[in-house]
Homo-oligomer: 200 residues x 2
Amino acid sequence: MPKRVDHAERRTEIARALVRAAGRQGLHAVGMRDVAAEAGVSLRLVQYYFESKEKLLLFGLRHLADRFGERVAARVRAAGDDPGPRAVIEALLMAALPVDEESRLFHHLYTSYAVLSVTDEALAAQPFIKDPDAAETTLAGLLRQAADTGLLRAGTDIHAEAVGLLAMSAGLGTSVLVGQRDADSAKAVLRYHLDRIFRG
Amino acid sequence: MPKRVDHAERRTEIARALVRAAGRQGLHAVGMRDVAAEAGVSLRLVQYYFESKEKLLLFGLRHLADRFGERVAARVRAAGDDPGPRAVIEALLMAALPVDEESRLFHHLYTSYAVLSVTDEALAAQPFIKDPDAAETTLAGLLRQAADTGLLRAGTDIHAEAVGLLAMSAGLGTSVLVGQRDADSAKAVLRYHLDRIFRG
DNA sequence: ACGAAAATGGTACGGCTGTATCATAAAAAA
DNA sequence: TTTTTTATGATACAGCCGTACCATTTTCGT
């Protein structure tokens, strides 16, 4: 039949253009025409691959979440061959901080989506925003593993620590993003709290 | 000369309409006409009191920050006649959580402004977003006071704890806002971490 | 009273938005 | 080669946006 173009790949390409444009102008200010121009295609093509803007936004969010997942996994892998729980946890939490351009972009857009989800029920229904965070389960699992190996201080509430650390990491990330704090200071705070949990 | 209307009060009134409309539709979706309708005045009047939309947004942010400051102060006052540092700190941190409609609104819009400030330098220059948080100084002061009275565990890094607690409170607030977590669970996590810092 | 300044209303303009329509180029299947 | 489906392009439309302009009412200083 037609020119045989890989739809999935093309959609991803357009989603990447959306992310780039949104990083420059802010998600609220990016229109279909901006995405088309950024991707170097015609407006009609963007409409063809995503019937509506809402579909494009939803796909963009999924794309972003996927890329973030890969990023975290890569960081964890890079933490060493057989890293202890502490190193894995540190890699996990640090990966969420906006230290370089890519993570800044991610944090910026993910927060944009979160804000939109407050008033947009289609976005709010997306699992990345709605579900009890998968990161929480992962982190709690790592902490339990550390506790079972006797690495943690006695009396540590694993669930409360997991939730608290994730919230802290997210909050620190936001303050770094808006320029209230620099990345190194945020890292130092996170490390202090890990030192506090793991017995010296 | 003219009808002698209190400008400051009228501007505040319009800013409150902005906040209400933004809470309903999202800050990104609210226009001058929405603000005018919400305030029950003509579009021209909104333009008259704020020459441009940007000025309106800036004033709205200041208004929001002021209201939040008052809210926190009220909560702290309500904490008791001569409350200990622990009670004051708890009131401080809890006040930031989106537990009722007013605090949800505040958290929602403040986050919206934070996102906008990433790509809007006029917003980024606003002290509420740019400055080293005043809350951090306050909280650190309270913690120091507690430490001097021997209420804290030994080896507590006051600065790291202050920064961490604030970031955690903000992060928890966001996850409550987007429906990832309920307010009670967020409160419980915060209390756990206060218990951890204050010696039992 | 009168004029001037302040406050308010009505409305129009240019530009941008997302979407729909019409047309056509490309390529695989027959 | 013809047909048929997919992919792409150009353009138009209705609606909303922030802003500007023109007019008018209101009220205070003189």
